[in-house]
Each structure stands twice: as C-alpha cells, then as structure tokens.
C-alpha cells in the first residue's frame, strides 16, 4: 500500500502538490487523473522517491521512500518521457536493468520484445515514440516489482496496443499481484482499466473513489412522466445529482443502486422509463459538480 499523508510540494511560488493525503491499495489499478499542471507528475516523482516532499510523508508498505533503497525496490517508474542510454539497444537495457533489479526477468523480456515486434539489437533511438513506450512498459513489467508506476504511459499508444498492454497488466496482476498506478490527463483512457480513481486539480485531490462504487451508486434514468406531479415527486424523493428536461423526456442522474432505482420507478406513474449505464465521464461530471467544480473544464477540455 502506498500512503501519502499531507504531502505538499512547492516550486517557487506555486504549490504543485498541496496537502494531499491519498491511499493506493495493493491489488487494484489506481488511476490518477488531472489536467496538465494538476500535479500528477510531481506527485508520482515524490511517490517514486525522485523528489523530496516539502512537507508530509510518503510510505510504501509502511516504509518511507525518499532515498530508501528498500522502498524503491518495490516499484518501477515509467515516466512520461522514458530514458534510454544513448546508442543503447533493448538488449543493453536488459543487461543494465538486470544489474539493478535483482528479480529482473530476462527471458520474458525477450519474449515480450518478440510479441511486440521490437528488435532486440536495434538502437532504441531509432524507435518511434510509441515503440519506446512499449519498451519502457516491457522493462517495467520484467523488473518484477510490486508496483508499476506509469506517468502518461498509455498516451501515444494505438488502441490495439493499449488493449494488449492492458491485458498483460491484468495477467501480471493475477499472477504475481502487480499493482499498477497510472496517471493520465485523459479519463477515457483509464476508464476500462482502473479500479480506483484519484482526481487531482491544482495540486489538491478533488476526489478519490473506487470506480465500481461510483458506477454502481450512480444511475442515469431516461423517462417520460405521466404527470408533472409525478416528476415533482421523484425530484423530492430521490437523491438527484442532475435533472434535465427536453420536451417530455427527462434525463436524471441519481445516486442509488440500480435495483433500488428500478423498483422506485416501477412504482411511479410513467409513460416510459429506462436505466442506462453511465460512462466514467458522466459519473465524474456528476460527482464533481456536487462539490462545486465544472469537471468539463478540468478534465475534458
């Protein structure tokens, strides 16, 4: 488990991370979302011990991380711009990483290279940006660390490759309990992989919730009420986050389990109703609007 307790970091006059407390559980995929400049990279650089927080503390499995070899041994960090040695080939990187990470899996490394179609003896500098990201992910996976921390790693990958990597991540999670932590400015990229989402805005955590909880507890209902009195009744009795009306058609976003909502609407006098699945995007819009933010400006710009 990675714990951040009241962590702050300031660059000159700007608080890049401001009093953040967060917990990233083992065995789940933690998604860190936020716009450019929200503090994602800074937070990850502190989590990985690259930077020292100005205040607060960061623990990885109860151990402080900054300049602590034992704690750092638990993760592999893939930054937004991965570094490879000048003129190095994938083989050179494997040789180097094998000296740094005691459990580095060399055989799977070459297997992955083949699967991804990356030549082992070709200079990495000749690889495309996407290929370099693939290689960075392979390096990370084969380091066999408990945590894999990815900063904007999936940006620039094509959808097929993204799906492939997601599936490999899932395998590693199943087989050896890998805990990926993925930061992105694009919510849609995290939607189908993350179990838990932390939303960063201007250095602070806007919310941190389990994705399933969020999905199960918010429903979107489209309906046509028989009378306006029925609509008023629903407005008063339900925990409504949002309610729009176009003509006779109401679109309601309400908090509550799907079964409960279905049962409630069954008892109302409606011409038509249906409960629709919510996208992560819609959930976020609803959740953040409740706390007074216009999420469209924060994430979906």
């Amino acid at each position: 488990m990675i714990t951040l307790e009241n962590v702050s970091k300031r660059f000159e006059d700007v608080w890049a991370v401001d009093n953040v407390s967060l917990t990233m559980q083992e065995g789940s995929v933690f998604g860190l979302i936020g716009t450019n400049g929200a503090g994602k990279t800074t937070m990850l650089r502190m989590v990985t011990g690259i930077m020292r927080p100005d205040s607060g503390r960061i623990l990885i499995d109860e151990k402080p991380v900054f300049n602590q070899e034992q704690a750092i041994r638990e993760f592999y960090f893939i930054p937004d711009e991965p570094f490879f040695f000048r003129n190095a080939t994938p083989r050179d990187m494997e040789k180097y990483l094998a000296t740094v990470y005691e459990e580095f899996a060399s055989l799977p490394f070459y297997e992955y290279l083949e699967k991804f179609g990356l030549p082992r003896e070709k200079k990495i500098s000749t690889f495309s940006k996407g290929m370099q990201k693939q290689l960075a992910i392979i390096c990370g996976l084969c380091s066999n660390t408990k945590y894999l921390i990815c900063d904007e790693t999936f940006d620039g990958l094509d959808p097929v490759m993204r799906q492939g990597i997601k599936s490999i991540l899932a395998n590693h999670m199943d087989q050896r309990g890998l805990t990926p932590i993925i930061a992105s400015h694009n919510l849609r990229e995290l939607e189908d992989i993350c179990d838990h989402i932390g939303l960063l805005h201007k250095g602070g955590v806007l919310l941190s919730k389990d994705l399933l909880d969020m999905k199960c507890n918010i429903q979107k209902i489209q309906c046509v009420f028989a009378t306006e009195e029925e609509a008023d009744k629903a407005r008063q009795q339900m925990d409504i986050l949002q309610m729009d009306k176009r003509g006779m058609l109401y679109t309601i976003t309400a908090r509550g389990p799907r079964e409960e909502i279905m049962a409630y609407f069954a008892g109302l006098d409606t011409v038509f109703y249906e409960v629709l699945p919510l996208s992560l995007e819609e959930i976020f819009i609803s959740e953040t609007e409740v706390v007074g933010y216009d999420i469209k400006k924060i994430v979906f710009n």
Binding site: F11, E12, R45, T48, G49, I50, M51, R52, N67, E69, Q70, I72, R73, F75, Y76, F77, P79, E81, P82, F83, F85, Y96, T99, V100, Y101, E102
Partner: protein, 746 residues
Amino acid sequence: MTSRKLFLTDCRENFKRRNWVFWLQFLAYFVSFPGALILGLNNVQRGYAYDPTQMMRRLDSFTKQVLNLNLWISALIVGLAVLVGIQGFSWLHDKKQVNFYHSQPVSRGRRFLVIWFNGIAGFLVAYLINLVLGLGVASSYGCLSAEVLAQIPQAILGHLLLFLSIYHVAIVAVMLTGYTLVSLMGTVVLLAYEVGLRAIINEYAQQFFYTYSSWESENILNPFFSPLILFFRYQVNRYNGPYSRLHYSYSESMFTMAGLVLLYGILGWLLYKHRASESHGKSISFSKVKEPLRVLLLLVMGTLGGLFVYSVSGSSEVLGIAGAIFVTIIGHGVIQLIYEVDFKAIRKNLPGLGISVLLVTAFFVFFRWDLMGYDDKIPDKDKVESLALVLEDRYWDGRRVLPDGTEVSIDNYLYTELKLKDVDLVYQLLDNRISYEGYGSGQNNNVSGMEVVFRLKNGKTRYRVLYIDKDDNLEVLNEIFHSEEYQKVTSQVMEDDFVDNFRIFQAEYDNGRMNYALPAEQVRALVEAYVKDVQNADFSELYYGIPIGRLTIGGEGIQNPKYVNEWRVAIYPGFDHTCALLRQEGILPQAVCDEDYLASIRSVSLYYYEDTGSTQITGPEAVEMAREIVKKRILLVKEDSGLTREDYEEDTALAGFYPVEEVRLKEVLDSSYLQEMDSVDQYRYETGEEVYEVIVEQYTGQPSSTGGEAYADTKTDYGEGYYSDHYFLQADQVPEFLKQMGVFPE
C-alpha cells in the same frame, strides 16, 4: 549479490556509459607520454648523432622533462578533469535521467560513489598505463636513469592531486548549476574568482594608494580556494629557486592541494546530498546561492569596468563611477539572462541590482579616496619583528648566486634575507616619511622612494613604498647602512667567507672605458680592503659620490663549480684601502684619456637644458616633454678635425660651435665621468640639475661592425670607424676655460 560485488558491477555499468571519456584520456596521455617520448627522443638522437655525450645529456634532459610535473601534462589534466567531473554528473541536469536513476533501487550515496570512483579510476588507469609505456620508451632509448625514476612518485602525486582538486571543483560546479554550459562557467568562476578579485583589489590599490607596493601583488597568486592557481604557481616557481617571492616547496604545495581536494570533495558530496532533483534546467540549483553569487560576480565586473573607464578617461572619477555602474547594469542583465534564460528577465530583480550598484560604487569610492587611510598608516612598531629596506637608487650589484648555482635577483634575496632587527632605528626613518606629492614634484631630488618589508610577529609580511628625504635622514640612513646585517645581505662580497668560497678566475678594475686586469693573488687583499672601506664609508658618499671605477671579480664555487658569478662593486674616492692597493698595482692615478684615445677624438658635445620658462617641470613625464623644446648643444671640435659650423647647419639645437685645442678636450674629459659609473646622475641630468651630458665623437679608422651597436651604456659604434662615448660633467667640475668662454648661459 554481495555489496562489494554489486559495487563493482555498478562501476562496470557506469563505465559503459562513459567509456569515451576514458579513451579520450587514454589517447591524450598516450600522446603526451610514450608518443612525445618516441618523437622527441628520436629527434634528439638524430640531431646529436655526431656527439654521443651531448646526445645522452639531451636524451636524459628530455626524458626528465616529459616524465616530471610539466606544464603541458598539467594543463591537459586540468582540461580532462573538468571534462570527467562534468560528464560524470551532468545527468543531474537532465530530467529524464534524473527520473531514471533516482527511481532505481540504488541509493544516492552509492550512485555518487560509483561515478566519483569511476572518474578517478579512469584517470589513474589511463595515466599510469601510459606513464609505464613512457618509461618503457625511455628505457629503450637508454635514458631511464635513477634520477628519472626518483622523480616519478613526485610527478604522480602532483598530477593526481591536480586532477582530484579540479575534478572536485567541477563536481561542485555541476551540483550548483542546472545546465552543463553553466557548470562549465561555474568551474571557471570557482577556479578564477578569488584570483580575479585579488587582482582587482591589487589594481585599485596600485592605482590609488601611493604607498602600495607592487610586491603586495604576490597576494594575487596566494588564493585560498583555487587549486589551479596554487598548482601552477608551484609549477612556475619551481624553476625560480628558493628566493622567488612566491616560492613554495613541493611538500607545502602538495599539502595545500590535498587540503583543497578534501574541501571540494566534501563540498561536492554535501551539495549532491542536498541538491533537489527538480533543479535540472535551472541555471543555479540552490536558490539561496543565486543572489549572493550575483552580487559577487557584479562586484568583479563593475569594479573592473570602473577601473578601465577611469584609466581610459584620463583619471576622471565621475566617469570611473559611471563606468562601474554601467558595467554593473550590463552585468546584471547578462546574469539575469543566464539565470532565467529569458531576455525579458533582464529587467527583473532591480533591488538586487541596486545593492550591487551601491557596493561597486562604494568599492570605487573607498579606494579612490582612501577611506581607510591606507597611505597614512604603517604597521605598528610593536607588531614588527624585523624589516627590510630597499632603496630605489641603491648602488650595489643586482645579482647573487646561490650555492646550487642559481642566480637570484638581489630584490628577491633582500626581501627574504634582509632582517633589520633594530626596529626602533628603522622606524626613526619611517616616521620621517613624507607624502607622495613631495616625491613627485621634482623640486627635491633628495626624496627617494624605498620599498619597506615589514615582517610581523604574527608571521605575516607587509610591503610598502615609503618616501623619505635623504638629506634630512642621513644620520639614520648611515646607521642602518653600517649595520652588519644590512651590509652582508646587500653585497655578497661583504660576506665573511666570500673569498674562501670561490675560486677566483678573474679580477678587473675599470673606469667605464679602460680596463685593467688584476693578478688573482691580489684579490683577497683587494676584497679585504674593499670590505674595510665599505664598513668605514659614509652613506652620503656612497649615495651622492661618483665612483672612480669598478672592481669586477669573477669566480666559481669551490664546492660546486656550477656556482659561478661575476661580482661588480663600485670604488669611491674615499675608499682609502682599496685605492692604496690600486696605486700599488700602478692602476691609480688613472687617466680617462690615453694618447691614442685623445688622438681619435673629433669633437666633444656638451648638452644642457635651457629653461625657457614656458614649461613648468613637475615630473619625469613633463621633463621628457620639455627636453624636446629646450635641449641645447655646445660643440667643441678639435682644431685640426676639419669640421666647420656649416657641417651642423641642420642641427637646430646647436647653441655654440667652438674649435679648441686637443688639450682642452682632455681637460673636459678629465673632469667628466663615464655614464656607467653612476646611474643616479642620469636622473639628475634629466631633471635639469647641474649636470651636463657629454658625448665624445671618435674616428679610429678601424670599423668593427656595420654600425648601430651599443656597448653597455658608454660606447656606441656607428660603423665605418666612428664611435661615441657617453659621459657626464657636473657643474662644479666644469673646466675654467669653458667658464671663461662663457659657453653656458648664466
């Protein structure tokens, strides 16, 4: 994997990343050791094939030169140490690499240690392998002597300390900065700043303090924090012997270097430890350093600019201060540009600029108007252990030879060896010092500047130039002059065992034009007579009197034949013992003119200055200017020379033309003395004192050269048999016939 094994693995991996630096070093040392030896020794072998002895000497000398601490290798080491230091740690300037390395399970301390160790190991391996190869080459040429081998450990230690110190300075620069280019600039600043500031303070003091001695400038090369200057100071002064002002022994120099290695090593480590990872891309990685550094840099830039403008503007204080402020503002802009890499940033941080401007202006004002009263103060008498005095216009010989045969400047020797312990006596003289204005006016030629060395009880040494009126202080000067310590240090001939320490192979007396060889067996007696005469002499005679001749003694050390020198001392009319011996040898009474010399003379010119009243003579520069206007010539030609006034039609300075008998010319020359006899009177002559310059034109009919050649100060050969001799004639010695002729204006 054990920790030890892992360390070596880390080293190997690190080496892979930077092996080009190693090979570059290897190549450089290969060229400098075996390469240079093969080429050089081969060259010597071919060039001296005709003389095997000479060849072996040269081979040996060249090998010693290459395999010792030499300037070329040292300069190479400096450059490579900077490269190794910056290259090793420049990853800290790259965000991608910082992310990569700092997120790996290798502690920061270990990473530092691996890179640091690899840098040193790379140097040592490249250096030592090539040194061994060099020894092999020397051996194959048969010039690997025990002497060469003996100097090797010294060279290795010296070069290692040089490498380590510069390497650590470069590491400190990398840690303090966030760009490689700025690191390079930082290295230069760290190595040169202190020396630069010292040089500026020295220049200001020289410019504005009239009692400031140029000997204080040695402090420029006495930095506390620049290993580069310390090492090269040692290198340069190694050749100058123990009486070099900046002499430092090998052990002293190496000990200091080792101290700096430690200092910069610890500093580099601490900075690395506390350097924030996010410092990459910033010019200065520690924000607290930025402002003090800016002020320090602007202080040097502004004060230098101020001094430059002050000098080129004809010493205008207003322009000097304006120049200092202007350069400070420009410097501020440049530093802002470097700090923020943004042209618009040059207008920022105006309070910092204001502080710098104030500081630079205060610096200029402080020196220009001597606000600390430097010129008014000399060290307290109670704090002085001993003193040395070096009078500007001293009479003694300017050279000394040390027991190892090294020739030493008398200045260096005096500054080290002259220790006048009677502080009260010397302070009687110093307390009568006068201001510089009295010295520069040209009104009083008895005022003389003298260098004074104050050796303080706390071990420090201070140098001053102080001005005294010799006429007013003759008694004290005489007493100082007669002190044993003064006489023995100022002249080697005065030393007790002088005659016993040398095999004299030459002794000669001359009056500037005519030489008389003396028998070697008379030298001891002559020296003893001379020592007695000097001990009895009055200072004023030595200073004001004109020597009748000089005694030149050539000798070599009995114990060390390298110990060779030629001593030349002046003989004054009052030197009774010496003169008696010279009379006994038939040398005195002497004649300046013998018959042949007299027969060859065609004319005698007497030059004097005519005061036109149009120019106020206030100093040497003004005199130089005035000379063009008022210098006049009286020409006495031998009656039978055939010269007529028409021959000198174009000489506008000619004030009188007088054909005279040969005997009259002899009278003039017998009253004159050759220029070589006394340098003091050259100054008197230039300032228009009662001294005339006398040029004798000769025709011998025996051309000895193609012309234009000067023999010392006295004789010039114009070719085709024409020569000239240079004399002076004091006003009170002017022959009666000239006075009667009224050739000089009243």
